[in-house]
């Protein structure tokens, strides 16, 4: 089974034994409650699925794992600069065709009444800009496209 995490893609092949799953010396008992046995101690876990993402709480940590459909390509990991939150574009600092360096501020948007800078993570050329000042943008919207 394959998942996408903030650290990239990761695969797991747990051994199933009835309602229990075994992996790397850990045993997970499933049912109405989830119990993890690790190093001789037990920990209650809580998990719920939102869309394609499993949210997991265990040992005081919260983790997210996005289910990857078998055979899906990894191209969706790349792409443009997206809005981290729904909000409003306050400033556009670049023009189409302009060259930018890593760290340059491309846009400033307002979300939750705070200002957030959209910064170039690498150098390149601004291919297209999809929003202008004052536009409302939904979460995840591609704000602009940079080419290498």
């Amino acid at each position: 089974m394959e998942f996408k995490t903030s650290n990239g893609r990761i695969e797991i092949d747990a051994i199933r034994d009835g309602d229990s799953f075994i992996h790397e010396g850990m045993i997970l008992h499933t049912g109405e409650d989830l119990w993890l046995e690790i190093e001789g101690r037990k920990h209650k876990a809580v998990a719920t699925k939102v869309g394609d993402v499993w949210w997991v709480h265990v040992m005081g940590h919260t983790l997210q794992f996005e289910v990857v459909e078998a055979g899906a390509s990894s191209s969706d990991d790349e792409g443009g600069l997206t809005a981290p939150m729904p909000g409003k574009i306050l400033e556009v600092h670049v023009n189409e065709g302009q060259s930018v360096r890593s760290g340059d501020i491309l846009m400033v948007m307002e979300a939750m009444k705070m200002e957030h800078k959209i910064v170039a993570s690498s150098g390149g050329k601004v291919e297209s800009i999809h929003f202008k000042e004052g536009d409302q943008v939904p979460q995840g919207a591609e704000l602009l496209t940079l080419s290498e």
């Binding site: 089974m1 998942f3 995490t5 903030s6 650290n7 990761i10 797991i12 747990a14 199933r16 309602d19 799953f21 992996h23 790397e24 850990m26 997970l28 499933t30 109405e32 989830l34 993890l36 690790i38 920990h43 876990a45 809580v46 998990a47 719920t48 699925k49 939102v50 499993w54 949210w55 997991v56 709480h57 265990v58 040992m59 005081g60 940590h61 919260t62 983790l63 794992f65 289910v67 981290p84 939150m85 729904p86 909000g87 306050l90 400033v108 307002e110 979300a111 939750m112 009444k113 705070m114 200002e115 957030h116 979460q139």
Partner: protein, 495 residues
């Protein structure tokens, strides 16, 4: 005595006030915007009235509409909570002009303390020490002109401000103009007033505030300090009382200065005087918050004073019920925010699919949300305040760590793990907390310490849940076959 109070607020603080009203035998009236219908605070009120309109300006900031609801529903008083209209002198005045009681200080006191420049001047005159800085009245040009004389690093603050909005730290001259523009714009958007002022940023100092309480009978007391140094983006995340930086002598000196500050504006009710305390033990007046504060529970836990109840008592014309200051044990509050601490604390949204709060001895949760609620970008991202009390600071940190480990929030990213790591951070454990500590400890941003074991465990759980369709079959079927708890079948007596 008050009989019916309108609570001009929402969420967590509305819940806190409505519960205090219920305890005091006062009827509570809630107002709510359409997108808040069905939330917890509307249920805790005796009467809940929906506000017409969309957005803050038409709803929670709409003075006329709120006042009309208070009058139409037979209220005798208005409690503003914090934020929103709590520090609007014009609203306080309008409430009083309508013949209602304003649960807070006089409009004159709010005006003097709400405008940072007037506050500085008033405090200087009252003999309370203030931070070196320059007051700006002439817009951007004057900011640019004055900044070099104040010196770097400096802080730009909204004159009408609070809550970190319109506040900018500037470390280099070349950043000044863009930061000043941003600060003025944020100030304009948040407070409708773009005036800012420039002051020296005192690095390595602590943010310590003194709770004061004053009644109509000339009694003004302080209830000790709250240490609020751990902040991100100038917003507090971790507050405690008492502060390790204060001994009895400094506490008394700051407490006296705070009472002087309150007396200088003939203060009534609950208020907070904020100070910066330098490593050398000098203290400077920052501002006075003329309202109940987010972090008031830590004071309640160590002093045993119910601050909201005292506000209701004082506004109703009674004397405060507090005796001499008696601080006991140690209390810590953390603010659970819907935000991503590993991505520069960016606000997060989502549905609270699971929201399981910790319980147990010495644990208090003040929140306005519950499982199933949606976290939207419409309001402040603070979901809850978790407060613990324990006999000592060490035990309070251990209790907070335990409680945060138990806290399950799934469906919306929160700072819960960040808060948990603070509890065992060596600087925090040593009490070495300063306002710049988050930037100092994590200059390149914070990431959770999820050792291989944790991520392996999470992965195992996710894969098992995906294989078994976990959570899909729990509801409805099989509800009758639950095995009864042994405690309900055994006729057991507890001593």
């Amino acid at each position: 005595m008050l009989k019916r109070t309108l609570v001009a607020n929402r969420g967590e603080i509305a819940c806190r006030i409505l519960r205090a009203c219920r305890e005091a035998g006062i009827e509570g009236v809630a107002i709510y915007a359409e997108n808040d219908s069905g939330t917890l605070f509307t249920e805790l009120a005796d009467i809940a009235v929906q506000l017409d309109g969309q957005g803050l300006a038409e709803t929670y900031l709409n003075q006329e509409q709120i006042l009309q609801i208070a009058l139409d529903n037979g209220c005798d008083s208005v409690h503003p909570g914090f934020g929103f209209l709590s520090e609007r002198a014009d609203f306080a005045q309008a409430v009083m002009d309508s013949g209602l009681i304003w649960i807070g200080p006089s409009p004159e006191a709010i005006t003097k303390m709400g405008d940072k420049m007037t506050a500085r001047i008033t405090m200087k005159e009252a003999g309370v020490p203030v931070i070196p800085g320059e007051e700006v009245t002439g817009g951007l040009e004057e900011v640019l002109q004055i900044a070099p004389s104040v010196g770097y690093p400096l802080l730009l603050k909204a004159t009408a401000g609070g809550g970190g909005k319109g506040m900018r730290a500037v470390h280099r001259q070349e950043d000044l103009e863009s930061e000043a523009r941003a600060a003025m714009r944020e100030a304009q958007n948040a407070f409708g007033d773009d005036r800012i002022y420039v002051e020296r940023l005192l690095t390595g100092s602590r943010h310590i505030e003194i709770q004061v309480l004053a009644d109509k009978y000339g009694k003004t007391i302080h209830l000790g300090e709250r240490e609020c140094s751990i902040q991100r983006r100038h917003q507090k995340v971790f507050e405690e009382s008492p502060s390790v930086a204060l001994d009895a002598e400094l506490r008394e000196a700051m407490g006296e200065a705070a009472c002087d500050a309150a007396r200088a504006v003939a203060y009534e009710g609950a208020g907070t005087v904020e100070f910066l305390v330098t490593p050398k033990g000098e203290f400077f007046f920052l501002e006075m918050n003329t309202r109940i504060q987010v972090e008031h529970p830590v004071t309640e836990m160590v002093t045993g004073v119910d601050l909201v109840r005292e506000q209701l008592r004082i506004a109703g014309g009674q004397a405060m019920s507090c005796g001499p200051l008696n601080m006991r044990g140690h209390a810590i509050e953390v603010r659970l925010y819907a935000e991503d601490p590993s991505n520069n604390f960016l606000p997060a949204i989502g549905e609270l699919k699971k929201f399981i709060a910790p319980t147990g001895p010495g644990v208090r949760l003040d929140t306005g949300v519950r499982e199933g609620d949606a976290v939207t970008p419409d309001y402040d991202p603070m979901l809850a305040k978790l407060i613990v009390w324990a006999p000592s600071r060490e035990e309070a940190l251990q209790r907070m760590a335990r409680a945060l480990d138990e806290f399950v929030v799934l469906g919306c990213t929160t700072n819960v793990r960040f808060l948990r790591e603070l509890c065992t951070n060596p600087d925090v454990v040593d009490g070495w907390t300063t306002t710049d500590m988050i930037d100092r400890l994590w200059p390149d941003g914070w990431t959770p310490d999820q050792a291989g074991k944790i991520s392996d465990a999470g992965l195992l759980i996710a894969s098992a849940c995906e294989s078994t369709n976990h959570g899909k079959t729990v509801t409805s079927s099989g509800g009758d076959t639950v095995i009864p708890s042994p405690f309900s079948t055994i006729n057991r007596r507890y001593p």
